[in-house]
């Protein structure tokens, strides 16, 4: 069909182009503002500091903090109701005024304009604006939605219902019948099983490749292949292979004299199908990382071990594994987070929407975009976010992974 006419294409390009132009113009404005108003603002801030000095720093801090809190509340409310006309709309100018007051009353805030780091601030400004618009703004909006009952029954004018959604994440079924903790346990099981096979499989392949042989590059290229295919395409291809009548897997099973398996309707087999697909997809990454690690281990260690009479098995556990740890740990962490939050595999392989194959992430997606329980889903998303945050913080604490960044 000829839906993609030149007109449509040009329209789309125009929309994207104008958005880019808006962002560009905004950035230029911001830079001009900072550049030209620097000197007058600096002078002004010194004078204001002089006037407000008698108040004392502590009082000024307090008042400024209160005003900033008011700004945040105004801003969140304004964003929340921004989509529909409401009495909150006139608060926009007020927000700006309150913000300005806070800025002037705070004892240190205006020192930005006196600081020697002003060039750094200036250069950072566009990135900060980008992050605020693309990360902080949606996050605050999501927080706001999570406090409402936004769902198909309350679509145009949702009410604020406090923390009810957060309570209900743990007490009510996530989608149809299964509650939060079984889904969480299943997600953990899914992550553990997959990761185990990723690391073992990756390790075996890496060890096989880490020696002198012919066509090594060719083997490596072939083995990395699954990683190079766009994930949804690979997953949909796998789903086809799990088809009961026409799929490769069942045809092979039947040729071997085994009964065909109901991959799409049997809960256990569907979970296994998901795992097989994801293991196939995940091994190449581990293999490449581990191969890199293996190649960096000097041959001297093995020579020394051999002289001491260590068997190959002992060499593996005594030399290879400890020396691989610096490479293995971050790879495992990445793998954990990727598998835990993997969407494509559990979503697409689970063609019949079996609840028994849903992980936290697919359940979240269904709750938000198939059931449109957006309020519930927002709270649910924050709970998942919290889980991953705790995991990351613990991991960073235990391994000191970010030490280099601080020092």
């Amino acid at each position: 069909m000829e839906f993609l006419t030149w007109e449509v294409v040009l329209n789309a390009l125009g929309e994207v182009g104008s958005t880019v132009l808006y962002i560009f113009a905004g950035t230029v404005l911001l830079e001009l503002f900072v550049y030209f108003l620097w000197t007058p603002l600096r002078a002004l801030s010194r004078r204001v500091d002089g006037w407000l000095d008698p108040l004392g720093d502590r009082l000024r801090h307090l008042v400024a903090t209160v005003l900033m809190a008011v700004v945040v509340v105004f801003a969140v409310r304004a964003i929340a109701v921004g989509q529909t006309p409401s009495p909150w709309a006139p608060y926009w100018p007020l927000t700006v005024v309150v913000f300005g007051l806070g800025l002037f009353i705070s004892p240190n805030a205006l020192n930005i304009f006196q600081s020697e780091l002003r060039l750094a601030y200036m250069l950072l400004a566009p990135a900060v604006v980008g992050l605020l618009l693309l990360v902080v703004f949606p996050l605050l909006w999501e927080l706001n939605v999570s406090l409402t009952n936004l769902n198909p029954r309350h679509f145009q004018s949702p009410d604020y219902i406090g923390l009810t959604n957060y309570l209900e994440v743990f007490t009510k079924p996530v989608l149809k019948q299964v509650t939060f903790f079984p889904v969480l346990l299943r997600t953990i099981l899914w992550t553990a099983v997959n990761l185990l096979f990723h690391v073992t499989g990756g390790m075996i392949l890496a060890l096989l490749l880490n020696r002198k042989m012919r066509f090594k590059g060719l083997y490596r290229a072939l083995l990395v292949f699954p990683w190079a295919i766009p994930q949804p395409i690979a997953v949909l291809a796998w789903r086809g292979e799990f088809h009961f009548e026409y799929g490769f897997v069942n045809i092979m099973l039947q040729r071997l004299g085994l009964p065909a398996i109901q991959w799409m309707t049997d809960p256990t087999w569907n979970f296994i199908a998901m795992s097989i697909t994801n293991i196939w997809l995940g091994i190449p990454f581990m293999m490449v990382i581990l191969l890199g690690g293996l190649q960096s281990i000097a041959g001297d260690y093995y020579e020394a071990a051999e002289l001491d009479g260590a068997s190959a098995w002992q060499q593996f556990w005594g030399v290879t594994v400890p020396l691989l740890r610096p490479v293995l740990t971050p790879a495992v962490i990445l793998g954990t987070v990727w598998t835990f939050t993997n969407f494509n595999v559990p979503f697409f392989i689970n063609q019949n929407e079996l609840e028994t194959s849903d992980t936290l992430v697919t359940a979240l997606f269904r709750s938000a975009f198939q059931y449109f329980n957006l309020g519930d889903a927002a709270a649910f998303a924050f709970v998942i976010f919290g889980l991953l945050l705790v995991f990351s913080v613990l991991y960073i604490r235990v391994t000191g992974g970010l030490k280099g960044a601080y020092e």
Binding site: M1, G102, L132, P152, Q177, H243, M264, P267
Partner: protein, 418 residues
């Protein structure tokens, strides 16, 4: 140092929001463009019709024909799967960027009216000219929310005369004939085993309904449901006549390849099968349940729905376009091309229908159909039934447990609607 940074961040935050708030003003919306030049109207039409059965091509031909008569009205035609259309329309409603016209199924009226996204059509059309039962499936709270395009959308028994001479009249005959026809590479009967839409006709045959008389209290944990599930289990395991696993496409492919003697599928599939099987295609009612009734497949139809907030020249053009599509001529064209029953009362007497055995069969099945509920609670029933039906068919749950679980799930879901 920290305070300064926070102040800077907060400052930029507010500035960013002010900029963001200003931005949309500068972009003219399509409505404004349309108002500036009342002569030209562009209508974005979302349709659930796909290419496979010629539906999309039919819609495209109508749209082209209309633009030829009214050059000032142009269309952007977008095809979306039924579920995708529902999801995308709700999302578009949240974002405030809805299409101008929907061509979709009746059960979308429930969620769309709940969300307040479509307008009632009572004042825009003389609805008396449409078939009563088609209108009934789009009525909620005393208002009509869609203009019917076709009537039916019901399941029926389609059979391949090359494999079975005449259709079985009762479930006993179905099982007997089915067992004879089921071999290592052929099945007696195929149907979409993953969707409860294929379960409800049998439920009706066993004397059950999904709602109590108030039309919104689920009644899924009943003897009728247990018998229905047991029946579906039996034709798969006890006296197997259906494949161990088959979704819509799987069943469709088997029937088209001549590897299945019978299929339960909807009126939308008639055109496609007629093309493949020709005169070998037969249409009959779904066999009568022994000791029960004729199964009651859900009937509804395909409808135009108009998003809320459409007005002026655009609304006029849309109303005129709907009249055009549901005119006697174009309804007859639809019957010929898509083999669907028309929604326009006057078009029902067309010899195209009365002389065609397939359409006669389809109409005969529709007589024992039941109008599909439109209320949003129905969504909860579907979602409650689907996993349990699959569990029984996967032999992981007994019909009794499954029926009880369906009821609990539907009740929880309805409680969650608020």
């Amino acid at each position: 140092m920290k305070t300064r940074l926070i102040a800077l961040v907060a400052g930029l935050f507010v500035l960013g929001m002010v900029l963001a708030a200003c931005a949309p003003v500068a972009t003219p919306t399509p409505e404004e463009i349309a108002e500036a030049e009342p002569e030209s109207v562009e209508i974005t039409l979302w349709t659930k019709e796909g290419e496979a059965d010629g539906g999309l091509q039919f819609v495209q031909s109508l749209v082209d024909a209309y633009t030829e008569i009214h050059p000032n009205v142009t269309f952007e035609l977008v095809n979306k799967d039924v579920e995708t259309l529902r999801e995308d329309f709700l999302t578009a409603g949240l974002a405030g960027a809805m299409p101008d016209l929907l061509w979709t199924v009746n059960d979308h009226a429930g969620p769309f009216t709940d969300a307040g996204l479509i307008m009632s059509v009572d004042d825009l059309f003389d609805l008396d000219m449409y078939v009563e039962s088609a209108l009934a499936a789009a009525q909620l709270d005393g208002k009509t929310w869609g203009v019917p395009i076709s009537n039916g959308n019901h399941l029926m028994l389609l059979y391949n005369k090359g494999l079975i001479e005449s259709a079985p009249a009762t479930t006993d005959e179905l099982i007997a004939a089915g067992q004879e026809l089921t071999t290592s590479d052929q099945y007696g009967l195929v149907y979409n085993q993953t969707e409860p839409f294929w379960l409800v006709p049998w439920l009706g045959g066993f004397g059950g309904k999904v709602f109590a008389d108030d039309g919104k209290t689920p009644t899924l944990n009943t003897d009728a449901m247990i018998e229905t599930l047991q029946f579906l289990y039996d034709i798969k395991y006890t006296s197997p006549i259906v494949p161990a696993e088959s979704d819509y496409d799987g069943a469709d492919a088997l029937f088209k390849e001549g590897k299945a003697a019978m299929i339960i599928n909807g009126d939308w599939s008639l055109g496609g099968y007629r093309e493949v099987l020709g005169d070998d295609l037969g249409v009959a009612r779904i066999p009568e349940v022994v000791g029960g009734e004729w199964p009651h497949p859900y009937t509804s139809g395909v409808y135009f729905m108009i998003p809320d907030g459409i007005e002026g020249a655009k609304l006029e053009a849309i109303v005129d376009f709907i009249h055009f599509v549901t005119s006697a001529n174009n309804q007859a064209l639809m019957v010929a091309k898509l083999n669907r029953l028309p929604a326009l009362e006057a078009a029902l007497d067309d010899p195209l229908i009365t002389n065609d055995p397939l359409l006669k069969g389809s109409a005969d099945q529709m007589v024992v159909g039941a109008p599909m509920p439109t209320v949003t609670e129905m969504r909860c029933n579907w979602d409650g039934m689907k996993p349990e039906m699959q569990a029984v068919l996967a032999d992981t749950k007994t019909p009794e447990d499954a029926a009880a679980a369906m009821q609990t799930a539907a009740e929880t879901c309805i409680a969650n609607l608020e």
